[in-house]
């Protein structure tokens, strides 16, 4: 190969395009200088292509490789061995290989790496948009491979592109079958998933008064579909996340368990006989949730939720945890019992935990609570009294409250009197606890937007909410939402309705502001999200669990043999079908409609034993048929006359007349069929 392999020029354009396409999504996650180097390499290759620059010399190559090695070591030190460092290393190697590729083998290394880069894109995101983008990338890569193997000068980019599309479409059936039936294998070794994006969503600490404004984005948190029945009312959509029990005067914290719930023993710690602590009533509601990645282990559910999916388990406070951080879109099924009651008997330890307040500080509030408690008869009345206090006094719901100082509860309750859900929930819990009523703070989401196009609900980050659960004698833990007392709109219609006049909030979600005004944008947004949801539900969250379910529906009992047989059978069936279609791909010559009609006529006559002989002219054939079956004379004469007229005379220029004649011919054929059918049955009887 010393003679010098020449990369076909047409293919190099495709190759450069595909490299550019596969690197682009990575550049979001990579350090900027790596993207710059990638661009420089692409440009360099382009300059080689147009003859401005030469290939890198040996010295330069050695320098570059050393440089890359050093950089990657430095990166691994700073970022750790993870997805980011691996993908930037891969990108660097990829673009350097691109510059120095000369031979066919090199190009195939680059093209194969392009596929690997597509895979890396999926590690970051599996959204519909990225999927479509990767599909485009793959088309271009296939086109590059084709261009690489073409030598014809007649072959232009258009035909290469069409050929790529055809091959991709032909590859689809087998891909789908493999995707559906190929057994999913458990991870071979644990991989650290690292992303630069930090945790999102609700956190496990709450410090009201710390922030002057609450930056809640209009990003999606999760999507929910109710499977057996209509969704609950908006005011009942309290997506429970975490229970915060510990309060140190400023911050509410969850009870710390072990931070990683990796082993079976630790999980077993959570598994207790929870049926004893609850009283189930009413019809359960089943639903599926697709949670966006949060990098946190807990998930969200309504009221008392029983996890149906594997790897999910409940904590003592009926929170739901996943066995590991949620680093990618996560689909799970829950069953909620709306009329259930929990912890009808409260353990002393739990009571102690949920009535504990710091010994120092907020004396005014404590005094206020104890006075109020003494004025009413029951805990429940006390709850109502506190809520009435919030409602009847000038408390304001805003996302830009004043900062709270020293005795934060006192400051809020008697001084600033403005805040959002965290302030109200925190203050409410403090007041309850001051009077000795077990109360805890719950954080999660409230509300949802309904998407009518695929019948599911969307919950956004700005739906994040905090409320309280109060333990009442004979009722167990009961949910109360002090925010609702101040701003009923927030609970009934959502945060947007509550903050319609709040300029800061509208600035934060400009898109959200727009969507209320232009209904067609709103429709488009909902439709797009519906597509994305379907994509997630049907494709992205297709895992071994769903696979087993599918198999169970297809074949009642699953054995390994059956699955293997199904896999081999289906795959080979598709391979054979695709193979046959490829091999006999030659475009079949389309028969003229007139000829087609004539052929069906002879086929009909063949059934009564009057087949047309090879080389027999239509007129001779007619004469023979009429001689054998005089009753067919009229039809045969008409048909043959028309056929001969259309087929052998000068082609008609007038489309209209031609169509008319064709119609007449069809009519004749159906007449003939009608005449022939009794004849045929007669023949069969003989």
């Amino acid at each position: 190969m010393d003679v010098g392999y020449q990369i076909p020029r047409a293919s190099l354009q495709w190759i450069l395009l595909s490299v550019l396409l596969v690197i682009a999504p990575q550049s979001i996650y990579m350090p900027i200088w790596i993207s710059l180097i990638a661009l420089i390499c692409l440009l360099w290759r382009y300059l080689i292509f147009i003859g401005r620059l030469n290939y890198p010399s040996r010295l330069l190559r050695v320098v570059i490789v050393t440089f890359t090695l050093l950089i990657s070591i430095a990166q691994m030190r700073s970022l750790g061995v993870g997805l980011e460092s691996a993908s930037s290393l891969l990108t660097l190697g990829f673009v350097f290989k691109l510059v120095e590729m000369r031979e066919k083998r090199d190009i195939y290394v680059v093209m194969s790496l392009s596929f690997v880069m597509c895979m890396v894109a999926f590690l970051y995101s599996q959204s519909l948009l990225i999927s479509l983008y990767v599909a485009l990338c793959i088309l271009v890569i296939i086109a590059a491979l084709i261009a690489l193997n073409r030598s014809s000068l007649e072959a232009d980019a258009g035909s290469t592109g069409r050929m790529a599309l055809r091959i991709a479409l032909q590859a689809l059936p087998l891909t789908i079958v493999l995707f559906l039936v190929f057994p999913r294998i458990a991870p071979l070794w644990a991989v650290p998933v690292q992303t630069t994006g930090g945790t999102t969503g609700v956190t496990d600490e709450m410090t009201p008064g710390d922030l002057a404004s609450l930056g809640r984005s209009s990003e999606l948190a999760f999507r929910v579909q109710f499977e057996n029945g209509p969704p609950p009312l908006h005011q009942d959509l309290y997506w429970r996340g975490l229970v915060l029990e510990n309060f140190d005067g400023t911050t509410w914290m969850r009870r710390r368990y072990r931070s990683v719930y990796g082993t079976a023993a630790e999980r077993g710690n959570f598994q207790f006989n929870w049926e004893n602590r609850i009283l189930l009533q009413g019809e359960p509601l089943e639903y599926n949730v697709i949670l966006e990645p949060t990098q946190q282990p807990w998930v969200y559910g309504l009221h008392l939720a029983d996890p149906l999916s594997r790897n999910l388990f409940q904590s003592r406070n009926f929170e739901i945890y996943n066995n590991g951080l949620i680093s990618k879109r996560f689909s799970y099924d829950l069953r909620s019992y709306f009329d259930s009651q929990t912890d009808l008997v409260l353990l002393d330890s739990a009571r102690a935990r949920n009535t504990d307040i710091p010994e120092l500080g907020n004396e005014r509030s404590i005094e206020f609570a104890r006075t109020l408690r003494r004025s009413v008869n029951s805990d429940r009345d006390f709850v109502y009294a506190v809520l009435a206090h919030f409602r009847d006094n000038p408390f304001y719901y805003t996302l830009n409250p004043a900062l709270l100082r020293d005795n934060r509860i006192d400051d809020f309750l008697f001084n600033t009197r403005e805040g959002f859900c965290e302030h109200f929930a925190s203050t409410f819990a403090f007041l309850m606890r001051s009077a000795g009523v077990p109360t805890r703070v719950v954080v999660g989401y409230h509300g949802a937007e309904y998407n009518p196009y695929e019948d599911y609900m969307m919950v956004y980050q700005n739906n994040a909410h905090a409320w309280n659960e109060v333990w009442l004698e004979g009722e167990g833990w009961v949910r109360f939402d002090p925010t609702g007392a101040v701003s009923p709109e927030r609970i009934e219609q959502g945060v947007e309705a509550a903050l319609q006049d709040d300029l800061a909030f509208m600035e934060q979600s400009l898109f959200a502001a727009v969507r209320g005004r232009f209904s067609f944008i709103n429709t488009l947004r909902l439709r797009l999200d519906a597509l994305e949801y379907e994509w997630n539900r049907r494709v992205v969250s297709y895992d071994d669990e769903v696979q087993v379910e599918l198999f169970e529906r297809l074949i009642s009992e699953i054995t390994e043999q059956k699955v293997l047989l199904l896999l081999i059978g289906l795959a080979s069936l598709v391979i054979v079908a695709v193979g046959l279609s490829v091999v006999s791909l030659g475009p079949r010559r389309k028969l003229d409609p007139v000829d087609q009609l004539y052929l069906s006529l002879t086929a009909e006559l063949n059934k009564i034993g009057l087949a047309r002989k090879t080389g027999e002219g239509p007129l001779d054939y007619r004469d023979r048929v009429v001689a054998a079956r005089p009753e067919l004379a009229e039809i045969m004469n008409d048909f043959t006359a028309l056929y001969v007229a259309i087929n052998y005379k000068a082609p008609l220029k007038d489309e209209h007349i031609a169509r008319k004649q064709l119609k007449a011919l069809k009519q004749q054929l159906s007449n003939l069929r009608a005449v022939l059918s009794p004849l045929r049955s007669l023949r069969n009887q003989q």
Binding site: V3, K104, R105, I107, Y108, V109, M111, S112, L113, F115, V116, C118, M119, F122, L123, Q126, S131, V134, I138, I142, L145, I146, L148, N149, R150, S151, S152, E154, A155, M163, I167, A168, Q170, A171, L172, L174, T175, L178, F179, F182, R184, I185, A186, P187, L188, W189, V191, V539, V540, S541, D543, I575, V578, G579, V582, V583, L585, G586, R588, R589
Partner: protein, 336 residues
């Protein structure tokens, strides 16, 4: 050591194939004689599939599984398409013009397709015997052909003329990696093609070949001799009276003289014995050179070989006859 073993092995494979493949002037490729294996690039691609698949397993990314399966499907499809790119092609050999030993023989191969099918980037190449191909730089040329619009096309496939005589074409290998290059399909056929290979001309200082009286090369006629009647011309005072054409004078045609010339024996004979003492091939090569040189002149020339003698003559056809005789010297067979 290893290369020697490899050479021997390839040699054995070649001989085995040669024994198995029946020569035929036209061959239609079908599933019996088309072979297919992943190409080197295909192996690279398989490695990439493994990489994507392992990543899909470890990160449990659904779409990465999908990507891996798509790549598998592409690979399977590439095998079908590549195989199909050879399937139902017809190959036939066409006559090939003669060449000199040591030159590349442009064997003409006609490639035709079934109607409605399309074939691209077919690579034709002679299956050179190992160990011999390396002697010349850029040894086995491969030729490419496309059948996109035309139903048939001719392609020249080059093979080195290693010896003079009626030279059989080596086994012809037609292969393709189109469309994706992940698999290579090939077939080896023997189209029963032959090429006449003349001896390699060796230049040397030529002597004069004329036998009989000497004469210049410009003209083999020495004017005004007296042996043979040449023609009649007008009388010029001083012409000998002996040559006056009295008969035509009597017919009243004026004074004319008969012209006579002497013919020099200018016919050249190329003789096998002229290069006594050289080896057979060397003699043939020298004779070949002579023939080529003499063909540029107008003098007739003949050839004497131990088993054949060709009378002097001139012209291209004559030259080719001589060259053919030289090429086939010592060869037995009906091809003469």
């Amino acid at each position: 050591m290893a290369s020697k073993f490899r050479e021997q092995w390839q040699d054995r494979v070649y001989r085995w194939m040669r024994g198995r493949i029946k020569p035929a002037s036209q061959v239609k490729l079908n599933q019996k004689i088309i072979y297919i294996l992943p190409s080197g690039s295909g192996l690279v691609f398989i490695t990439a599939i493994a990489l994507v698949f392992i990543a899909a397993i470890n990160y449990a990314v659904s779409l990465a599984f999908g990507l891996a399966f798509l790549m598998v499907s592409l690979f399977v499809l590439a095998i079908f398409h590549t195989w199909n790119n050879l399937n139902r092609l017809s190959l036939s050999g066409l006559p090939t013009p003669a060449v000199f030993c040591g030159e590349q023989i442009p064997f003409n191969v006609m490639v035709s397709r079934d109607p409605g099918r399309s074939h691209e980037t077919l690579e034709l190449q002679f299956h050179e015997l190992p160990g011999q191909g390396q002697q010349t730089p850029g040894h086995s040329h491969s030729s490419f052909i496309n059948l996109i619009d035309a139903d048939r096309d001719q392609v020249k496939v080059f093979a080195l003329a290693r010896r003079r005589g009626y030279y059989p074409a080596p086994l012809l290998r037609i292969s393709t990696t189109f469309p994706l290059g992940l698999a290579r399909a090939w077939s080896v056929v023997d189209l029963n093609m032959h090429c006449l290979v003349y001896p390699k001309p060796i230049p040397f200082q030529m002597e004069d070949f004329t036998s009989g009286s000497g004469g210049s090369d410009d003209s083999n006629i020495s004017r005004e001799g007296n042996e043979d009647f040449y023609g009649i011309r007008e009388y010029v005072p001083g012409d000998p009276l002996k040559q006056v054409a009295w008969k035509s004078l009597a017919k009243g045609q004026g004074m004319q003289v008969k012209e006579f010339v002497d013919y020099v024996d200018s016919r050249i004979w190329l003789d096998w014995d002229m290069y006594y003492g050289s080896s057979t091939e060397e003699r043939l090569s020298r004779l070949c050179y002579c023939v080529l040189q003499l063909a540029k002149r107008s003098a007739p020339y003949g050839l004497k070989l131990p088993d054949i003698e060709i009378a002097p003559g001139s012209g291209i056809e004559h030259r080719d006859r001589l060259l053919r005789a030289l090429a086939l010297y010592g060869e037995t067979g009906e091809q003469r």
